[in-house]
Symmetry: C2
Subunit: 446 residues, 2 copies
């Protein structure tokens, strides 16, 4: 899994053994989602531009499609590639509302595109794995702790550092900033979002300059942003700051409920972190971000939140809660740093050797018998010397080579060779399909 320069910056492609790691990650995520009753959906890759541009802060980042001959009538299609899976899902719900059962629990594993400047953790084409629950008119609060618990289960099943999901609440933050006297709480939120990048003093200056607060008001906003806890105790720290506003009370109650339930179910998974803002405009309450401890500089590997009015046709509104796993971001980390490896680069558990081209049909029959019993295998491409055929298997990590002449199978790792019948022989279960495992990290930190 040597790292190679991408031939087109920001559009990653994996080698076969790396793709086995990706497939294993995707299979684990899918299985977790399905065990939790989320149904798979996919949406088309394109959306009307006006829909893409009305949501979020991605105006520069959308790839627009046109047909090759710009003179054609329909060359300008007014379509762009989606930049996330939430906006398309909200549109899908509106398009198909009459054919869907609510609440709708769906997962969606698909590519998305952003015209960003590529760097570690940022790609122009990437795979996301989303879950959302969306309902008609109203959505119960328990979804706000169910979603991070399901995502936590999925991420903890992967061979990566145990994730920490940070949670905040937009109402809590906005109510607090209004309670301090800010007329434009969004400006405070945007300033606080830069805390990790520019430090507390510069953030305080920004708050004073952009949100019109006093230096003292800015300071208390900064104190809020530094509160965090893995249990509901964060609420005491907020109340101790002495700010009051009805919206703050509402957000505080919502966030407290999330922490009560998640800390009881999965201690150490979910942390209240009042710094979290999330860039996208469509979140209205609870918001989530996720870091892998030791790799904080990579940014969030799974984000989301509650959106109460993203999907609305003017008459009916469909509120939702969702999170999105940045599969490519996680893979870029674990493959780029050799943190995870596959046991082999091909599905085949057995290479059936070919003694000479005249006996190839015998080898084909053995392969057919093995496949009928669920054992992946391939037949040697040429009747080369057996040493060369064994090297063919060894280079790919195929553990077994089958010889038809004397009906034996050799474990090329141990050298053990035994008589075998293709209608009854089975490999050890751990060898049947490729597996993946964590390696020792060479550099623990970015």
């Amino acid at each position: 899994m040597a790292s190679r320069p991408a031939s087109l910056s920001g559009f990653p492609e994996w080698l076969p053994a790396e793709r086995i790691v990706e497939l294993s990650f995707l299979d684990t995520i899918r299985r977790t989602f399905e065990l939790n009753g989320f149904a798979s959906l996919e949406t088309r890759s394109v959306e009307p531009l006006d829909r893409l541009l009305s949501k979020g802060e991605v105006e520069n980042e959308v790839y627009v499609l046109r047909r090759l001959h710009a003179g054609d009538d329909d060359a300008d299609l007014g379509l762009g590639l989606h930049f996330d899976l939430t906006v398309p899902f909200a549109r899908y719900v509106l398009d198909n509302a009459g054919h869907l059962d609510f609440p709708l629990r769906r997962y969606q594993i698909q590519r998305a595109w952003r015209g960003e400047r590529p760097q570690e953790g940022r790609y122009r084409e990437f795979v996301q794995a989303d879950i959302d629950v969306i309902d008609r008119d109203s959505l119960p609060a328990h979804v706000e702790w169910e979603i991070p618990l399901v995502v936590g289960t999925a991420l903890r099943a992967l061979p990566i550092p145990p994730p920490v999901i940070s949670v905040n609440n937009r109402k809590l933050a906005e109510g607090f900033f209004r309670g301090v006297g800010a007329d434009d709480p969004g400006a405070v939120l945007r300033a606080v979002d830069k805390l990790a990048k520019i430090g507390p003093d510069a953030v305080a200056d920004l708050i004073v300059a952009d949100a019109g607060l006093s230096a003292a008001g800015a300071r208390v906003c900064l104190e809020l942003a530094q509160i965090r806890s893995f249990d509901p105790s964060f609420a005491d720290s907020v109340l101790a700051l002495g700010v009051s506003h009805p919206m703050l009370d509402e957000g505080l109650a919502e966030l407290t409920a999330v922490l009560e339930k998640t800390s009881a179910a999965e201690p150490g998974l979910v942390m209240a972190d009042l710094r979290i803002a999330r860039g996208l405009d469509y979140y209205t309450g609870t918001v989530y971000e996720t870091v892998l401890p030791g790799y904080e500089a990579l940014g969030s590997v799974c984000s989301g939140g509650r959106y109460d009015s993203l999907a609305s046709d003017g008459k009916v509104t469909y509120p939702g809660v969702g999170m999105s796993i940045g599969v490519t971001r996680i893979l870029g980390l674990v493959l780029g740093r050799d943190l995870v490896q596959a046991s082999r680069s091909v599905p085949s558990c057995v290479l059936v050797a070919v003694a000479d081209e005249a006996s190839r049909p015998d080898s084909d029959l053995v392969a057919t018998a093995l496949r009928a019993r669920g054992i992946p295998c391939e037949v040697a491409p040429a009747a080369a010397k057996f040493g060369k055929q064994i090297r063919h298997a060894d280079r790919r990590g195929i553990p077994f080579v089958w010889f038809t002449a004397d009906s034996t199978v050799k474990d090329i790792r141990s050298g053990e060779q035994v008589s075998a019948d293709p209608h009854t022989w089975s490999p050890p279960e751990r060898d049947r399909w490729p597996t993946i495992s964590a390696t020792e990290p060479k550099e623990p930190h970015l």
Copy 2:
């Protein structure tokens, strides 16, 4: 699975139960490919335009990307969305040749895009499932029968009419047309390709007009095009036409070998059909098309061929053989005509009822215990009356409802209700996950 008007023509989206059919098709195809030792790969969705435009006849059909603000320096990226998976795979092989083991057996299941006029069987965005074997310098002939046999195994495992894979050979056709005296055998090929559309008389006229053959020469070309057989006997019919050319001999030997092997292994699957041409320029020998009997008007649902010079860096050439299953085309047929149905619209096998919100944690515990044993389930979204919760399950096809108060589980199809422990109870295996099955076709023909 009522058909709905697509909200954007040519960009199909499925409802949840339809997506379960698609997922099941993809899982079956993937498993067949992996049992046969094909490794999964994906490529980025974009390719440089010059690469896309130099291959095949798709000049008008490519979607070009630009960044939103056309004034930006890099607005014109010179990139387009790929229109198939063969051209990107050939490029991937050249990019990564030093990191790959040859022969390389890969499968690739991914979306592709063409700016075609949408109609039944033709989409602007669609999913393809490809297998290819590619080698360095030379590629043995046995791959030419292995590939259609693997594809046949995959397609025969789906609940669709048993496919017929038609095979021809470009060398056979070109050699024959040259042997008749055609200077431009490509013109004859293009004319013959229109046989089904415009009929033999019009094709004969075209051959005379475009390829400069006599009426007698055109007639013998038409006779060739009407030869077909499920075994190697087609070769006698070709020889009976009395044409000779070295390239014809070579193609005839290759096609005969394909029919000998495939008719022995899977009678009735592969048919020599000397009409088959394939539009794409990169095929150099054996070519494949596949129809579903009864639905010929849909066109080919799986095509491919041998390409000896698609991947070449000027020094090394990587010849390959591959076929591509048109997954979306098949799904458009079976879903549009209700030929296949899913047993339910969600993964959940069990709905855990909620007696009142105070006891929701009890329901969550039951769900966690079931999931730990691989039983997909969901907890009722609200503590509604049990009748309403049962209707929630019924609408989605969830077969079992669990009641925590008396620890019973009810099969809502039979009404049978039994005591059960979430740590030991299991559903019948056929109910654990959604399944799909063929329905009786309402209209047998297009």
